[in-house]
Symmetry: C2
Subunit: 239 residues, 2 copies
């Protein structure tokens, strides 16, 4: 197989601490500037620029020029999925040293955050649990499906699922979706197209909004009511 070199290059690009920090910061699906990424990684802009050029050249990142800024984002969902899977291995191999350092910022991240294109943290897990409990979704570590009642439920909640219905399998009338292991909660939550649809709709109608410049997500009072009353999800904003 000739692609061994490319495989190694991709893994090596992900394997430098500074680049890993940048990729991690990009995992919420937003586009960040080179300066922001440099700050996240704790390196100078020159060094960050070099890293970004390399990752873009290989195709891990895509760049969009806007004024004097250059916005970088993950080039494809498969890249996000790869980072997830590496993170999952890291989570499994993590020794028992206390799991994650606790800080104010981390607290917000654990409460609710985005994971590339869907919700994670306690919010993501709570929503997934609620959907499973009501029979709207079935979920295992290998795969998930949105049931017929789930399709109707989401449609009723205003979440646009038409694109997903187009790709659903003929016989089932159900939409397959992807499970995603949350690294802070160590629980499954809802990824894939279904999770993305819920997340983007929540942002669009103001159930949630992004917090400053991080992956953290704020649940608005309106969203809190919807999630509790309509979705039936119970989660506390503080652990």
């Amino acid at each position: 197989m000739a692609s061994n070199a490319l495989f190694a290059e991709i893994a090596a690009l992900s394997g430098d601490p500074a680049r890993a920090s940048m990729l991690h910061a990009l995992m919420d699906g937003r586009a960040l500037t080179a300066g922001e990424l440099a700050r996240v990684a704790g390196i100078t802009p020159q060094t960050a620029s070099g890293h970004l050029v390399r990752m873009t050249a290989v195709g891990l990142l895509s760049v969009e020029k806007q004024g004097r800024h250059r916005y970088h984002r993950l080039a494809a969902p498969s890249v996000a999925h790869m980072l997830e899977s590496i993170m999952q291995v890291a989570t499994e191999l993590e020794p028992d040293r206390k799991r994650f350092t606790v800080g104010p910022r981390d607290a917000a991240l654990r409460t609710a955050r985005t994971c590339y294109d869907h919700f994670a943290g306690r919010l993501g897990v709570a929503l997934a649990d609620a959907l499973v409990a009501h029979g709207h979704v079935e979920l295992t570590s290998e795969a998930g499906i949105l049931t017929q009642t789930g399709i109707e439920f989401l449609r009723g909640a205003g979440v646009d699922i038409e694109p997903m219905l187009a790709q659903r399998t003929k016989r089932s009338g159900r939409v397959l979706c992807r499970p995603c292991l949350d690294w802070s909660e160590r629980r499954l939550h809802l990824g894939g197209a279904v999770g993305a649809a819920i997340c983007s709709h929540s942002m669009a109608v103001g159930w949630t909004r992004r917090l400053d410049g991080t992956r953290a997500v704020l649940v608005t009072p309106k969203g809190d009511r919807i999630f509790r009353e309509t979705f039936g999800a119970t989660f506390a904003s503080s652990p």
Copy 2:
């Protein structure tokens, strides 16, 4: 998040050409000796030993001592899944230079091989296609499910699916499974517990057997008949 260092270390370990070769060779789920892995990677045993110690220390590999040999294998399915996901990114980013160099060995690999614990290559794709065509499996790039008729079909074919039935979701009576993108065929095939069950059963009853010391798989005449007549899979042993 404190696990950034571990994330980077895991990716870096996968990112060296020699180590990548070894991990790749281990992706069929078998356990190989340090010497075999050294030969695969094209390095001396001393160097390979160093690599293996490091990967084992972190937890990517597990070792089993047997006489004067030390057998190394991937430590967990999540590691195989991670390697798959990196390979998928590599496949997507591969420039148009002709896909894979053709050689006698490669031809056998493209016909039928194992992918950690299930079938890949034309055999894997053909089996997945046939199961989908008969309504036994539904498959998208995000997830897959084994339908009720699929459960009965596999049971009738003698494939042990009891362990999977134990983890199936209550309401559906269906077993979720994992899709896996084949890097040579660029098509989905059947991974996860369902794919593993089919593969191990095929090996056990002699429908297939491993070819010398590689990932390549030979379909026996008996297996060829079963796959064609019972599964309804059509695939040619030469492209």
